[in-house]
């Protein structure tokens, strides 16, 4: 049902530029393939416009899906939009080659050159995103390039449509089309300029950097000259920028590992994986930082009536879960909890002692799963299996509990399939995938 509503809103937004044409004097059709080519072009441009909304960090659109799925949709819808833009060009090229004229930008009409620029830019935006690692592009540089390509492509495509002007020739249609385009531009200005400026007024300072087990560090931040986050739901995440201005491109999403009652102080627990995260342990105390958030729907606070929770976690995926467990201990949570926590080895278990303490305070069953267990280990070993879930969970209540999954994608896929086989309703399974 949620999906149906989402598709309807999306289609309405994509159809809007075409519907707007009918508000003015719509010129007569030329031929089926000709008009189809134009319609595909219009659809591609409005799909790309909507792409800016998807990644604009507005809380409402992310609400029913979770931001990971929003980025997933952004990625695949971009491929489709680029394909539609290419189909628009291909139909013209195959059937109406004369209308395309010469390629040389010095002699070709400017609006046709801009159409080609738009198409090439969209394809480049997709290629550099899909094969970023193979191309050796660092995340920060890729992000800058991506914003540049997306904006250049979009503006070129809009100028192309207005320049060709067949469907947008009538003054009313032209005015409507321009205002529609202007609203997309305002959106981009809001997301890329106004919002970062607002964040700039609320800086944070690094108070401590703590080394945890398994090449993981916890970064503790406190607000500098303001009251900080008003509140957040344990399990939510923020976008973190370290140093310099909030316009800096060194911005990454991280789950908060602290709990709301610890505000105004916030903490993020980060594994040293990429260029940015490797630098975390050497961040000096007092370094300036900016936070955008909180975002996300991965929280037990959204499920006050659930009879109990099961956490299936791998490695640093513990971050949002420790936030929930800390909050639960503070709130005096009485509901039963299970934590299946997979790690390569015992010394890599993050927050091991604290988890033992929490197990004492909460009705929490802690199940460690180790790939390389120590000799005297009596607990679970290897990968998470259906057998482990059956063994530790109460058989009569499996379908009533809510499940939070956070870890590497292969583990999540396996866990989801086990839960599906066990008859757990899909709406009881909450997943956090961070593989942007």
């Amino acid at each position: 049902m949620r999906a149906a509503a989402w598709i309807t809103i999306y289609l309405a937004l994509v159809a809007l530029p075409m519907l707007v044409l009918f508000l003015g004097d719509v010129p007569p059709g030329v031929a089926f393939w000709w008009d189809l080519s134009k319609a595909l072009g219009f659809a591609a441009v409005s799909m790309i416009g909507v792409q800016f909304i998807l990644t604009g960090r507005f809380r409402a659109p992310a609400y029913p899906f979770g931001i990971d799925i929003i980025y997933f949709l952004h990625r695949y819808l971009a491929i489709i939009a680029a394909a539609l833009a290419f189909a628009h060009f291909a139909i013209m090229w195959l059937l109406y080659e004369d209308a395309l004229g010469v390629i040389n930008p010095l002699t070709a009409p400017w609006y046709l050159t801009l159409g080609r620029v738009g198409l090439v830019t969209f394809i480049l935006a997709v290629v550099t995103s899909e094969w970023r690692e193979q191309l050796g592009l660092k995340y920060e540089w890729w992000r800058l390039l991506h914003i540049f390509l997306a904006m250049t492509g979009f503006l070129a495509a809009v100028a192309h449509i207005l320049g060709v002007g067949y469907y947008t020739a009538a003054p009313t249609t032209r005015a409507l089309w321009l205002s529609l385009t202007l609203s997309w531009l305002l959106l981009i200005i809001w997301v890329r300029i106004v919002r970062p400026s607002l964040l700039r007024r609320r800086p944070y300072r690094v108070r401590a950097v703590r080394s945890e087990a398994g090449e993981v560090s916890t970064l503790v931040l406190e607000p500098d000259g303001h009251s900080g986050l008003r509140t957040f739901q344990p399990g939510q995440f923020v976008w973190l920028t370290l140093g310099r201005s909030p316009f800096a491109i060194r911005e990454h999403p991280f789950s908060l590992s602290s709990a709301p009652h610890q505000l105004p102080e916030v903490a993020m627990t980060i594994r040293e994986l990429g260029d940015f995260t490797q630098a975390i342990p050497s961040v000096p105390e007092g370094e300036i930082a900016f936070l955008d958030g909180p975002f996300g729907i991965f929280s037990h606070h959204r499920l006050p009536r659930a009879p109990g929770f099961v956490y299936i976690v791998g490695g640093v995926g513990i971050t949002p879960v420790i936030s929930m467990l800390r909050a639960m201990a503070h709130e005096g949570e009485k509901r039963p909890l299970w934590l299946f926590y997979a790690n390569p080895a015992l010394e890599q278990v993050i927050f091991r002692e604290e988890l033992d303490e929490l197990a004492g305070q909460l009705d929490l069953t802690l199940i460690h799963i180790l790939q390389e267990p120590p000799e005297e280990w009596a607990g679970e070993t290897g990968m998470l299996t259906r057998g482990m879930l059956d063994k530790h969970l109460p058989s009569g209540r499996i379908g009533k509990l809510h499940y939070f999954l956070c870890g590497p994608p292969p583990m999540l896929e396996a866990a989801e399939e086990h839960l599906d086989d066990m008859g757990v309703p899909r709406r009881h399974v909450h997943v956090e995938i961070f593989n942007l």
Binding site: L11, A31, F32, L36, L40, A43, L77, I80, V431
Partner: protein, 35 residues
């Protein structure tokens, strides 16, 4: 599985967008008759 569902959502959306474009082209050719 969750990704598979999201991928299905993308596919359905893509098909509907293409149908929308086809609808636009057909409408411009005077379909349905008399439009």
């Amino acid at each position: 599985m969750r990704r598979r569902r999201a991928l299905m959502l993308v596919t359905v959306t893509a098909v509907l967008v293409v149908l929308l474009a086809i609808g636009f082209a057909l409408f411009q050719q005077g379909w349905p008759a008399g439009a």
